[in-house]
Amino acid sequence: MPAPHPHLDFLSEAIATARAARRPVAIRGGGTKDFYGGPVAGDTLDVRPLSGITSYEPTELVITALAGTPLAEVESVLAGGGQHLAFEPPRYGAGGTVGGMVAAGLSGPARARAGCVRDHVLGVTLINGRGEFGTFGGQVMKNVAGYDVSRLLAGSLGVLGVLCEVSLKVVPRPVASVTLVRSFDESGALSLLNTLHRRPLPLGASAWYDGGLYLRLEGSEPAVAAGCAALGGDRLDDTQAAAWWAGLRDQTQPFFAAPGPDLWRLSLPPTAPAIPLAGGQLIEWGGALRWWRTDAPAEDVRRRATVLGGHATRFRGARPVRDPFTPLPEPLRRVHRELKKAFDPDHILNPGRLYPEF
């Protein structure tokens, strides 16, 4: 049991002061995802001093860490135990924290098979906008005592509370991993992807870019070998494969990193057909995630995503925008507004990061 941390008092006092003065705070970890979401006008509240792994017991499949703990530290400790975060959180640079990872709620290439950040959150301790501490969830896999507040915090972008500590489910690293590449055009790749997930194949991740379909098979040796035989294609050597998936996960590869039009993130049903937009595209998650570099007007991109049963986020661009996320329909919008009030009645936590109105 760790000793009470001095930075906790600092954080709760900062919230109390902010509340009294009605001066919003901008919660910040490593700042690796500063670009994501709307701009926040507020005093920076740095969570990084609240750092350290509270407990890690590999056989319990759980790690608990203070929110400011560098994600890299968590990943390296897990690797030492032969385990990892199955959802492959994107890093977007050095210095990201585990609290920022949960608050952003973003998952990497393995998401379609392994689940998302939220699926792996087991518990959190937070400070709400009233300056109150609360612990929700816990360190066990199954927990239905009360509302699952801890999972609600995943992807909440700091608008409900300041994360202080998180517990995450971890899993063993796959024993074997092989990446196959085959040539396909966009619709050919989508058709094939839509047949793959209903076969008992150990498909850990998939991506299509520039005429190449990349399939990562992972699991036990016999399962991967059987999957390779069933799918066919050129096998990437292990170094190349690792570099390809890391470039995708961290968005360092040229499709993402090169200067150019805005980067849009379209989250769609995996069976959605090819989309005719101007610009370049990269597909992940078996067709459920489509990245576009496009100058198409926001309304046009959003309309196309909505019609197909999904939504579009202006993920990254030259200039920040106030409304990067798809607006909410009623009555969801009202519930969001009321939930914000339930956690942060004075709107002092990250106002504007998720939606302009809160």
């Binding site: 017991e57 056989t59 319990e60 612990t135 816990g138 896999m141 509302y147 699952d148 016999p222």
Partner: protein, 502 residues
């Protein structure tokens, strides 16, 4: 059957309450046909409890809508009149979540029982809330697909109830809980407005409300339609049955399997009294000399499963298994499971009644927990048998008692509360998969601080400002906790034991 703890006899109504009842019936008659409204006490009697039959309340009215529009109409009518609404699925819940409200409407979703779509390409099924869990897998079977979460009541329980409770099952270590297998739900707010959480894509804009609606026990919205993710059915499953001379050795063996990087499809532990009861009941071939037995299942392709079974067999043998066998065919696998699947029924043979607990603890505290339960048997003068979802730490102690003996019932309740409190102290939780409902309200006072409980009330009011959806469940009031008189205990591994809580 335990004696009712709550008086179910028809209350004598004041003139005012009779007038309100007539007004409600009038409003319901405008949205439902007469046969969908049950108002006399004979007709409402079957709805007075769920599977937690020790608690019974006769509802004012039961409604059985057939369509979404009717559900919306019922909710709007109740909202206008300030009438509480308790949604109900198949009534198989074990925590009294569907216990009626004496002044309220019980909204049965049993007639919303159509499978709307099975999409073998997207691997999803969209079904109405009243569809049975197993019926989804049956409908998906022709495509080689199935719905993974398998609560033991899966033959009868409805998917809407599974969503309300975030139900698990014996395979959830590998395949996740209901939340992990649901893409989206549709339903209605208390105002009767249509609302959707999640969707057909893997995420939605804004807050992840699906994660809080799943498991909210009907207190935030009424779900009428659920889209679930389907998985390809594994080619083969095989099961290992292993005996151990001590519970500690069995617990260590579980840790070794996980440490070796194996996530079994199922991993169950039963203690000696439970093994004896199950064996007498179904003759599964269990080892009566064992202090504990483990069931460990592997699924996947044939080669993969054979390799994993070999590895697990070696690990368990190295951990001191005194007897071990692996199923050679499907019949044998089902025989191994038959004792575990009939554990509750077998306990019913040991005693007139049993109370099933459902706490979760960090797995490494298992032996400690079982020793504590042994001590409690002596303290409360009652016997307890144990089954354990060993992979994920979810413990189901079954306390044997006679409900017709008021003192035994009282001791049984105290025994149960003690188990829950001990679980919280060991760093666990009061409910792993059965929900809080009415049964564990008092224990919520022990697990959560007043500020945490107030935060949950605020969440409820964000969805349901008038607090009409399943009121009085899940979150205990300050007053109730004060009466219960037990303080919030800090969880075993809480990071901030000395922080002031409000």
């Amino acid at each position: 059957m335990p004696a009712p703890l709550v008086d179910a006899s028809a209350p004598t109504r004041s003139a005012g309450s009779e007038a309100r009842r007539r007004e409600l019936l009038g409003a319901l008659a405008r949205v439902l046909s007469g046969e969908a409204i049950l108002a006399d006490s004979e007709a409402t009697a079957p709805f007075e409890c769920d599977a937690l039959s020790a608690y019974r309340v006769r509802p004012l009215v039961v409604v059985l809508p057939r369509t979404d529009e009717e559900v919306a109409g019922v909710l709007a009518a109740c909202r206008a009149l300030g009438t509480p609404v308790v949604a109900r699925g198949a009534g198989t819940g074990l925590s009294g979540g569907a216990l009626p409200h004496a002044e309220g409407v019980t909204l049965s979703l049993a007639r919303l029982n159509r499978i709307l779509a099975v999409d073998p390409v997207a691997c999803t099924a969209t079904v109405q809330a009243g569809v049975r869990n197993l019926a989804i897998s049956d409908a998906a079977a022709p495509h080689g697909l199935y719905y993974a979460p398998d609560p033991s009541s899966q033959l009868a329980c409805s998917i809407g109830g599974n969503v309300a409770e975030n139900s698990g099952g014996v395979h959830c270590l590998k395949y996740g809980l209901t939340l992990h297998n649901v893409l989206g739900v549709r339903g209605y707010t208390i105002d009767g407005e249509r609302i959707e959480f999640g969707g057909q894509a893997l995420d939605t804009p804004g807050l992840d409300l699906l994660s809080i609606v799943v498991g909210s026990e009907g207190m935030l919205a009424v779900v009428t339609e659920v889209t679930v993710r389907l998985l390809p059915r594994p080619e083969v499953a095989r099961c290992i049955l292993a005996s151990f001379a001590t519970v500690e050795a069995a617990g260590r063996a579980v840790a070794e399997v996980i440490a070796a990087g194996i996530i079994p499809a199922g991993l169950e532990l039963m203690d000696r009294p439970m093994v004896g009861a199950a064996e007498r009941f179904v003759h599964a071939g269990y080892d009566l000399d064992a202090a504990a037995i483990l069931l460990c299942e592997s699924d996947g392709t044939a080669t993969e499963v054979d390799a994993e079974i070999a590895r697990i067999t070696k690990l368990l043998t190295d951990c001191g298994a005194t007897r071990i066998e692996a199923s050679r065919d499907e019949a044998e696998r089902l025989r191994f499971w038959s004792g575990r699947k009939n554990a509750f029924a077998a306990s019913g043979q040991l005693s007139p009644d049993y109370m099933c607990m459902d706490s979760t603890i960090p797995r490494r505290r298992l032996a400690e927990m079982l020793r504590a339960i042994e001590g409690m048997q002596a303290r409360y003068g009652l016997t307890c048998v144990n089954v354990f979802h060993a992979g994920d730490g979810n413990l189901h102690p079954l306390i044997l008692f006679n409900a017709n003996d008021a003192d035994e019932l009282r001791r049984c309740e105290a025994f149960g509360a003690d188990i829950l409190e001990t679980s919280v102290r060991l760093g666990g939780t009061i409910s792993g998969e059965h929900g809080v409902g009415i049964e564990k309200l008092n224990s919520m006072c022990v697990q959560f601080s007043p500020a945490e409980r107030e935060q949950m009330f605020r969440i409820k009011r964000a969805f349901d400002p008038a607090e009409l959806l399943n009121p009085g469940k899940v979150i205990p009031t300050l007053h109730r906790c004060a009466e219960y008189g037990k303080m919030h205990v800090h969880r075993g591994v809480s990071a901030f034991p000395d922080l002031p809580r409000f």
